[in-house]
C-alpha cells in the first residue's frame, strides 16, 4: 500500500535500472567470420595472371606496374630480348623463357644455333654444301673457314690481338691489358652473322651426313685426310689415343675406348666419336671450346669423361662451340667459361641421356656474357650440377665462392649489356649446387634461366640464386614438375635487386622453400621479386640460422624514394608459412610494396 503512494517514482526507478542495465550491458562480441570460403569461391576459376593482378591491386598497383626502366643506362650491346623482359617483367620474362626453351630443344643442332644467333640479334645463315659424308664435312669446313675470315676481316692483326687479351675480362684474378672501351670498340667490328653462320653450316653438314661419315670411318680406318686448314684423322675401332693440335684439326673415330688430348686451339676443330667409353683431356679452348672460330665435339655413345680448362666443353669466345653427348653416364669437369658458355658467341653442351655430373668453378653451365649465349641442355637422368669452390667472392665474403653459373647472364658493367644463360633439364631427380650467383640468375642487362621439366630436384645456393636478378636484368627459374627443395641463404627464390626482375615459378609438386633473407618474393633496391607456386602442399620457411632479418616472403623495401616489389603467390594446396600473417586463403601485406596471396584455384590457376 505504501508503494502505491509512489507509483511514478517506482516506475522511474525501474526505467533507470533498465537504462543502466542496457548501457552497461557488455556489447556483443563481434564474431570473426571464416573468410576462407569467400576466398575459395572467388578464386576457384581464376587464372595465375588474375591472381597476380589481385595481389598487385592490394598494394595499389596493376600489372603494368611490373615494369623496369631500361634506359637508365644505354649501350649498343643491349639485346632486344633483354629490353623485352625489362619492359614486361612478368609475361615477357615467362614467354621469353618458354620460347627459348622450345628453340633450344630442337633435335637439329644447327637450328638451335641459328635461333641462338637470332636471340643475339643476328641473322645466321645455313650455307649449302655439296657432296656427302666426309667430303661434305671437309667442304663445309672450307666454307666456314671463309666465313670466319670474313667475320674478322674488318680487324687488323693488332686488333685481333687486343680481342685475344680481352679473355682476361672473364678470368678471375687476371689483369686485362686493354681498356674496356678500346676492347669493345673492336668487338663491334666483328661480323657476328658470318661467325655464327660458319657454326650453323658445319653443324648442319655434320648432322646431315653423320650416317655416311660413320660408314666411311668404318671403311677408311686409320687414315689421315689433308685439308687446307689441317689434317683430319680417321681412327680405328680399337682404343686409340689422339692429340688435337699441331696440325690435326679433326678426328673421326669409329669405336673403342679412346683417349683424346686436346691442345689449346683456335679456328676450326672437331671430333666425332661413334662409340666407346672415352676420355677427353683438354687445355683452354678445347673439347668443343671455340676461340675465333668453331669447335665441335660429338660423342655418340659410352660413359665418357671430359676434363677441360677455361673455354671448353661446349663454349666459345668469338665463335661457336658445341659438345653433344648422345648417351652414357658422363662426367664433365672444367674451370671457367665451360659446359655451355657463350662469350661474344654461342656455346652449347647437350647431353641426351644418363646420370651425369657437371663440375665447374666459375661462369659455366649455361653462362652468357655480352653478345653471348650459353646453353646446357640435359635430356634425361639424375644429374648433379656443381659450380664454385675455387674463386673467393672477396668483394663480400672471406669464405664463400663465386659461381656465376647454372643459367647465368652477365654483362660488363657499366660498359656493355650482358647475354643469355639457359639451362634446360628435361627429366630426372637433379641436384644443383652453386655458391654466390647461380641457378637462374643474372647481372647487368642480361638473362639467366633454368627450365627444369620434371623430377624431384634439389637446389642449393648461398647468395643470388634460384631466380635472382641483380642490377637491371632478368631471371626466371621455371620448375614444371616434382617435389622440389630450394635452399639459399638470401637474395634468392624470386628476388630482384636494383631495378631487376627475379622470378621463381614452380608449377607442380609439394615443395619446400628455405631461405634467411631477401627471398621468396622479395624486392630490394627497386627490384621486383616474384615467387609463384601453382600447386601442391608447400612449405615456406624463413630460417633464422644466419640472423633475424624480417625481409622475406612478400617483401619490398624503400630505396631511392620509391619502393621495390616483392610478391609471393601460392595458387593451391595446404601450405605452411613460417612467418606470421601468411596463411592459406589470405592476403598478407607486410610493407606497402610486399604481398603474399595464398588462394585455392582450380589446377593451380590454369595458366593462360
Amino acid at each position: 500500500m505504501r508503494l502505491g503512494k509512489y507509483p511514478l517514482a517506482l516506475s522511474i526507478l525501474v526505467i533507470l535500472v533498465l537504462v543502466i542495465f542496457v548501457v552497461t550491458l557488455p556489447e556483443k562480441e563481434i564474431e570473426t567470420p571464416d573468410i576462407s570460403e569467400d576466398f575459395k569461391s572467388y578464386y576457384l576459376g581464376k587464372t595465375e595472371k588474375e591472381v597476380l593482378r589481385d595481389a598487385l591491386r592490394s598494394i595499389k598497383m596493376d600489372l603494368n606496374d611490373l615494369w623496369l626502366k631500361s634506359d637508365v643506362v644505354e649501350d649498343d650491346f643491349r639485346l632486344s630480348v633483354v629490353e623485352r623482359v625489362m619492359n614486361d617483367p612478368y609475361e615477357g620474362n615467362l614467354k621469353t623463357l618458354l620460347e627459348i626453351s622450345k628453340e633450344i630443344s630442337s633435335e637439329e643442332m644447327w637450328r638451335v644455333l641459328k635461333s641462338m644467333g637470332e636471340r643475339l640479334d643476328t641473322s645466321p645463315e645455313r650455307f649449302s654444301v655439296e657432296g656427302k659424308g666426309i667430303p661434305a664435312l671437309v667442304y663445309s669446313m672450307a666454307v666456314s673457314e671463309e666465313l670466319i675470315s670474313e667475320a674478322f676481316s674488318n680487324l687488323t692483326e693488332e686488333e685481333l690481338a687486343i680481342l685475344d687479351k680481352g679473355i682476361a675480362f672473364l678470368l678471375e684474378g687476371a689483369e686485362p691489358e686493354v681498356e674496356e672501351e678500346e676492347f669493345l670498340r673492336i668487338v663491334r667490328k666483328v661480323e657476328r652473322d658470318r661467325l655464327y653462320s660458319a657454326g650453323v653450316t658445319i653443324v648442319s653438314t655434320m648432322e646431315e651426313n653423320l650416317d655416311e661419315i660413320r660408314e666411311e670411318a668404318d671403311t677408311k680406318e686409320n687414315n689421315r685426310i689433308s685439308t687446307p686448314i689441317g689434317y683430319v684423322v680417321i681412327g680405328t675401332k680399337g682404343d686409340d689415343e689422339y692429340l688435337l693440335g699441331e696440325g690435326v684439326i679433326g678426328v673421326i673415330d669409329p669405336g673403342g675406348n679412346d683417349l683424346y688430348k686436346w691442345m689449346e686451339s683456335s679456328g676450326i676443330t672437331f671430333v666425332i666419336d661413334f662409340s666407346g667409353n672415352d676420355t677427353y683431356i683438354g687445355e683452354d679452348f678445347s673439347l668443343g671450346g671455340a676461340r675465333f672460330g668453331i669447335s665441335i665435339l660429338y660423342d655418340l655413345s659410352g660413359n665418357d669423361y671430359y676434363k677441360g680448362e677455361n673455354f671448353s666443353i661446349g663454349s666459345s669466345y668469338f665463335g661457336v662451340g658445341v659438345l653433344r653427348d648422345f648417351s652414357g653416364n658422363d662426367y664433365y669437369e672444367g674451370d671457367t667459361c665451360t659446359q655451355g658458355a657463350g662469350v661474344f658467341g654461342l656455346g652449347v653442351l647437350r647431353d641426351h641421356s644418363g646420370n651425369d655430373t657437371y663440375r665447374a668453378a666459375f661462369e659455366s653451365q649455361a653462362f652468357g656474357f655480352t653478345w653471348g649465349f650459353g646453353v646446357l641442355h640435359d635430356l634425361s637422368g639424375n644429374d648433379l650440377y656443381y659450380a664454385g669452390g675455387k674463386y673467393l667472392d672477396y668483394l663480400r665474403f672471406k669464405d664463400r665462392y663465386l659461381s656465376l653459373s647454372q643459367g647465368f647472364g652477365f654483362g660488363m658493367r657499366p660498359y656493355a649489356s650482358g647475354g643469355i644463360g639457359f639451362l634446360r633439364d628435361d627429366s630426372g631427380n637433379d641436384v644443383y649446387f652453386s655458391d654466390v650467383f647461380g641457378q637462374a640468375s643474372s647481372y647487368w642487362f642480361s638473362l639467366g634461366y633454368i627450365h627444369d621439366l620434371s623430377g624431384n630436384d634439389v637446389y642449393q645456393g648461398w647468395l643470388y640464386n634460384q631466380g635472382a636478378a641483380t642490377h637491371l636484368c632478368g631471371s626466371l627459374l621455371l620448375e614444371e614438375k616434382g617435389n622440389d627443395s630450394y635452399y639459399a641463404k638470401g637474395v634468392s627464390q624470386g628476388c630482384g635487386h636494383d631495378l631487376a626482375i627475379g622470378m621463381l615459378i614452380d608449377r607442380e609438386g609439394n615443395d619446400s622453400y628455405i631461405a634467411a633473407d631477401l627471398s621468396q618474393g622479395a624486392g630490394n633496391a627497386n627490384g621486383i621479386g616474384i615467387l609463384i607456386d601453382n600447386s601442391g602442399n608447400d612449405s615456406y620457411t624463413v630460417t633464422e640460422a644466419f640472423g633475424v632479418y624480417d625481409n622475406a616472403q612478400g617483401y619490398g623495401n624503400w630505396r631511392r624514394d620509391f619502393g621495390s616489389i616483392g610478391i609471393l603467390i601460392d595458387l593451391s594446396g595446404d601450405d605452411k608459412y613460417s612467418e606470421p600473417g601468411r596463411t592459406n586463403n589470405r592476403f598478407y601485406r607486410g610493407t606497402n610494396y610486399g604481398v603474399v596471396l595464398d588462394v585455392e584455384t582450380k589446377e593451380g590457376g590454369a595458366r593462360d
Partner: protein
Amino acid sequence: MKTHKLFFLLSLVIIVSPVLSPPLVESQGEEKRRRMDSLPFLEYNETFAKEVEDLFLKVASFDIRVREKYGEESKRKLIEMGARAVPPLLDMYLETDVARRRVSLFQIIKGIGEEALPYLWYYMDNSENPKAVSRLAYLLGEIPSKESLPYLVSKLKEKERYREALGSIAYALGRIGDRRATPYLVELAKDEDVFVRKSAVVALGRLKDPEGIPVLIHSLEDDYHIVRYPASISLKEIGPETIDPLLDYLESDAPSIAKGYAIEVLGSIGAVEKDKVSKTLLELLHSEDPWLRAFSAEAIADLCVISAKKRLVSIMEKEKHPFAKQQLVEALEKLENCEKQ
C-alpha cells in the same frame, strides 16, 4: 576597356614579379665571383693527389679484406682533410663508372660537410657533363644549404642538356627545403621521365608547400607506382591542407588505384577533420569497386572511427569480395583495439 585593364594588370604583374620574388639564378653576383676567387685548394700537387687516391682506393676497395682493415680509417683521414681533399676527389672520381667508388665519394664528401660546398658550387658552375652535374646536385642535396639553390636552378635553364641531372636537381631542391623551389618542382613533376617526376613529387613533400597539392594529387594517377606512392607520401607530409582537395578528388571519376591512394592519405592524416573524412569513407564502403571498399575500411580503422563498427559489421556480412572482406574483418579488429585504448 576591360581588355585593356586586364592587359595593364598583367603587364604590371610581369614587371613587378621579379622584384617580389627575385630570380634565383642572378642573385649571386659579386658574392659568387668573390667565392670563386677564394678557393685555396683548387690547385694541388701530385703527391697530395696520390695520398688522397691511396686512401680512397682503400675505402672503395673491391676486396673485403682491404676494406675491413683500412676502409674506415682511410675514410676518417679523408674526411679530416676537409675541403682540401675535395678537388682531387672530384677530379678523380666524380665521373667514375664504378658504383662502389661513386658511393664512397658521396660518403666522404658528405662527411666533409659544409666545408665542401664552395667547391661543389665551383664544380657545378664549371661542369657541362650531365653525369657530373647530376652527382654534384646529389651532393648538394646531401649537404643542404639554401646558398646552393641558384647553382641548381641555373642548370634547369637548359633542361634538355642536363636531362640526366634533373632527378638529382629535384632531389637536392627538396632536401634544401626552400619553398622558392616549388614552381620548378611543380614543372619537374610533369616531366616526361618517370624518375624525374618521382624525384619532384618527393621534393614537394619535403617542402611541405600547399602549392604542390594539385600536382601531387594529379600524380596519384601516374602510370607508374614509382610516382604514385611517393606522391601519396608527400601529400601526407603536407598534412591537413590536403584533406579538402582529396575529398573533392574522391567525388571525381578518377581511376580506382589513384582513389585508393587518396583514401590511404586521408586515413593517415584525416584525424583533424575526422567527421568530414569518415563521412566520405563510410559512403565509399558502398562503392561498387571492391578495392575502394577495402581501402575505405582500412582508413576508417586507421582513423579509429569507433562509431562505424555496426555499419562495418552489416557490410561485412554481405561482402563477397575476399580482399574487401578481409579488410573489413581486420578493420573491425583494429576498431576493437581503438575502443580498448
